[in-house]
């Protein structure tokens, strides 16, 4: 027992100290030095709160209940003085967060921010501090460290910022590193690099890592042991290999089954020849204007040509800044394309005025990423759904009757029309947003990262819903995502974009199965958990005997 670096026993955290309002219900956890423990769960599982409790950073309204204990090297942390906790943070344990932009001070140079840690927690001289800082920046593989030392956070990429955060967290060589979804906000290639870095530093420094994530792929890459949490309760704790092969609880099994597999699903045979959406050489350029000095041009999308058939799904995949959302927004005419054509309902809509465009709006609808912001919080759900039909002259009664039907179609009660968005969960809101889009009877549904903000089990449900609706209504779906697994599961065709250009475009099985371009290969190689067939509880190597060995 004494060899555990961190030992959490019976941790219960409650709102306002009220034992009826527990958000973490008896967490037990042990981490040995040099070990990586993953804390996995969906939103609301209490995984981040457990980490914050360890760091002594819980919000004031939440407090650990009597009988909870968190011991670091045998020292009880709950009830330790604020001064002692401040001292332990950075020196004995440290934490990195999800969003590296907000975790860094935007008006201080990053080098100084790292150095500050040394200033508070060591008595090194200035030149010594600087030398150590540069050494650490080198250790996290930052390029051109002398220059970066003097840079501000906004001048760095997301991955570089996260490296700075890691450098800051590890410079005092703490024995425990807590990483709270450190790669969730990053692109998949950057994510792979950061995961490698964390693994490498753990080996070098021998520190233990408490890694919080919702992503089973990441778990399979980095974990030694895994604790699965659901609504504040521990479901199971197991060695990673055992957990992925022999999950003990139904919840874990469901969680694993929901993980979209990286292997493309078999192509659908029923091929419709009716083109519902087509773009030719679509371009969107920002800037390049100005009276005297031309502003810098940014080509957000260049020569994008795509074709979407009735009843089929075309996926656009790419990392942030690849231009995939720009394409979607041009197609919706939420922004005006610079050149090229967009054919919807047999008509080129790229240059239509808003007035001429209105009749075509019916044919193409969109579902956005963020379920919290895609419905007006001040009006009832029913009113949001019928707004479109009312614009096209449908009577209030008829539109409302249709709204009730649609809500049932997307798996919600018809009575939901009278409620406000805040009364629904994220997944439910996304269903409402889908119902709103369907209220217009569109031919094409554009889903712009429509499942990215959802928990994996909810994500699976929404994807199923989309597939079912497509089957029933013959929708063409343009599906924009950064997640190759999701793309593999629902797309017939896939387009890979990078820097505003189309890198590869073809049937999903071909693009994701036998990629021709280096960038596509790199994307696939970086996807976490690609070796695991989560839904069947085994690695892919074992499912294909020929490749085994």
């Amino acid at each position: 027992m004494s060899d555990s670096l961190l030992e959490i026993s019976n941790l219960r955290i409650a709102l306002n100290g009220d034992s009826d309002k527990q958000v973490v219900k008896g967490l037990n956890l042990k981490i040995q030095p040099g070990q990586t423990m993953c804390l996995v769960g969906e939103s609301g599982s209490g995984k981040s709160l457990s980490a914050l409790a360890t760091m002594g950073l819980l919000p004031k309204v939440l407090s650990p209940l009597e009988g909870s204990s968190i011991r670091l090297k045998g020292e009880e942390l709950l009830g330790a003085s604020p001064g002692r906790m401040r001292n332990l943070r950075a020196t004995a344990m440290s934490m990195i967060f999800q969003e590296p932009m907000t975790a860094l001070n935007p008006v201080a140079r990053v080098g100084q921010q790292i150095e500050e840690v040394l200033e508070f927690h060591s008595d090194l001289g200035q030149s010594e501090r600087r030398r150590k800082t540069l050494e650490m920046m080198d250790a996290v593989h930052l390029p051109d460290i002398e220059k970066l030392y003097r840079s501000f956070p906004h001048q760095l990429s997301g991955g570089q910022r996260q490296r700075i955060m890691i450098a800051m967290a590890l410079i005092m060589r703490p024995q425990l590193l807590i990483a709270d979804e450190p790669t969730t906000a990053l692109d998949v290639t950057t994510q792979a690099q950061i995961l490698t870095l964390i693994r490498e530093l753990r080996e070098q420094q021998g520190s233990a890592v408490l890694f919080i994530t919702h992503d089973m792929g990441v778990v399979s890459e980095i974990a030694d042991d895994v604790t699965v949490l659901k609504l504040g309760e521990v479901m199971e704790t197991q060695n990673v290999d055992n957990l992925l092969r022999h999950p003990q609880t139904d919840y874990t099994r469901d969680l694993l089954r929901s993980v979209p597999s990286q292997v493309p699903r078999p192509p659908r045979s029923d091929r419709s020849e009716k083109i519902v959406l087509k773009t030719d050489d679509l371009c969107k350029t920002y800037g390049g204007t100005g009276l005297i000095f031309k502003s810098r041009e940014v080509k957000a999308a260049q020569d994008v040509s795509l074709k979407l058939m009735q009843g089929r799904t075309l996926g656009i995949v790419g990392e942030s800044g690849s231009g995939k959302s720009t394409v979607a927004r041009c197609i919706m005419r939420l922004i005006d394309p610079t050149s090229g054509s967009i054919t919807v309902g047999g008509q080129d809509i790229a240059t239509l005025s808003q007035k001429e465009l209105k009749p075509q709006r019916k044919n193409i609808q969109i579902v956005f990423q963020d379920p919290m912001r895609s419905l007006n919080p001040r009006i009832e759900v029913g009113q949001s759904i019928i707004e479109g039909p009312l614009n096209f002259g449908v009577s209030q009664e008829a539109a409302m009757a249709r709204a009730r039907e649609l809500l049932e179609l997307v798996g919600l009660p018809a009575s939901a029309v009278d409620r406000f968005p805040h009364q629904f969960s994220g997944g439910q809101r996304q269903r409402i947003a889908i119902a709103r889009a369907l209220a217009m009877d569109p031919d094409v549904l554009v889903a712009d990262e429509a499942v990215s903000a959802l928990d994996v089990s909810v994500q699976a449900q929404v994807l199923d819903l989309l597939a079912e609706l497509q089957e029933r209504l013959g929708l063409g779906i343009l599906f924009i995502t950064h997640d190759l697994g999701v793309a593999a599961q629902i797309c017939d065709e896939v387009m890979v974009m990078q820097f505003g250009r189309v890198v590869e475009y073809g049937p999903a099985a071909q693009v994701l199965g036998q990629p021709q371009q280096d960038y596509t290969k790199a994307l696939i190689a970086a996807a976490p958990g690609r070796h695991w067939d989560f839904a069947n509880f085994r690695p892919f190597a074992e499912s294909a005997p020929a490749a085994g060995g």
Binding site: E42, S43, G44, M332, L334, K358, R361, K362, I364, Q365, I366, F368, Q369, D370, R373, S374, L375, N376, R378, I379, S384, E387, G388, N391, F392, G411, L412, P413, S415, A416, D418, R419, F420, Q423, F424, S425, G426, G427, Q428, R431, A433, R436, M440, L454, D455, S457, V458, Q461, V462
Partner: protein, 299 residues
């Protein structure tokens, strides 16, 4: 947070907080706010019912009773023409409050319309905002004096003169709210649904501006009362026969050494009214924007 596929959405909690209980919550949020409300209520009610409240006719000249100190007959004394000071201050509240409330409503309305246009219609933005910038460059009182001297002093011109300099700030406020709200996916969804610009503004954008506008309105009200007092004090306000807090002070200025009350009492009432309105505005802001309140106290 798991998704409920089946029909098990929790019953909607009935919204029982009516506007009245909400107002009561705001007013009783702290003793100072309660005090401010009571003081303001006294000022407002006595101004409204001035005809019945005042012991003397506020405009009747009684030369024999000039510059009398406070007494049982004249509670606050008399001015240089023998008019009862208390009656004049109470009656003067009418002009000041009408100007204050009128300017607040007019400025908020004008600012809302212009701000919506500037925020939503991009090509209008540059034109409107440069005009607003120009207007903001001129000091409020100076601009008001110029307008009054151009059109002559009456209640209406004073109201207009005080409203116009207040509009730019409202325009900027509304514009900034609209600029962020128009990027919300629900607004884009409305565009995709073919909603007209007018419908989008009315349904999706205006509701976002209500809270900040109520708050801004209270500040404008306070500032308009002050500007009216300044204008009257400078002799650029409403006809001196009609009492207003500003011109009572202006007339009393010369006799300050004989009866300082003529300047001090109306000055005190102006201060109390403005302070009360501002306190109330702060309380409304805290109630409508809890995050702001927390930041104010905690950090």
């Amino acid at each position: 947070m798991t998704d409920q596929t089946t029909a098990t959405v929790a019953a909607p909690p009935r919204d029982t907080t009516t506007a009245l209980t909400r107002v009561r919550e705001i007013v009783t949020s702290s003793p100072i706010v309660l005090l401010a409300t009571v003081l303001l209520a006294i000022v407002v009610l006595s101004a409204i019912f001035a005809t019945w409240v005042v012991p003397h006719d506020p405009v009747r000249l009684t030369p024999s009773e000039r510059l009398k100190p406070p007494s049982d007959t004249y509670w606050l004394g008399t001015d240089a023409f023998g008019r009862d000071l208390f009656s004049r201050i109470v009656t003067g509240g009418r002009i000041s409050l009408v100007v204050g409330v009128g300017a607040a409503i007019a400025a908020v309305f004008a600012g809302l319309v212009l701000g919506l246009l500037a925020g939503y219609i991009r090509w209008l933005d540059a034109v409107l905002m440069r005009m607003v910038d120009g207007l903001m460059a001129i000091p409020n009182v100076l601009l008001a004096i110029a307008i009054v001297s151009l059109w002559g002093a009456s209640l209406w011109t004073v109201l207009v003169a005080i409203t116009i300099p207040e509009v730019p700030r409202v325009v900027r406020l509304v514009r900034s709210v609209v600029l962020s709200a128009r990027e919300e996916p629900y607004v884009e969804a409305a565009i995709a649904a073919g909603s007209s610009t007018w419908l989008i503004m009315r349904r999706h954008l205006v509701p976002n501006t209500v809270a900040p506008l109520i708050i801004q309105g209270t500040y404008i009200c306070a500032s308009a009362i002050l500007t009216e007092a300044i204008l009257s004090f400078l002799g650029a306000g409403i006809n001196p026969e009609t009492p207003s807090w500003g011109n009572i002070m202006a007339e009393g200025r010369i006799y300050f050494q004989i009866n300082p009350g003529i300047v001090l009492w109306p000055g005190l009432i102006v201060s109390v009214a403005i302070l009360s309105i501002n306190l109330l505005g702060d309380a409304v802001r805290d109630a409508l924007d809890p995050r702001m309140a927390q930041r104010g106290i905690d950090r």
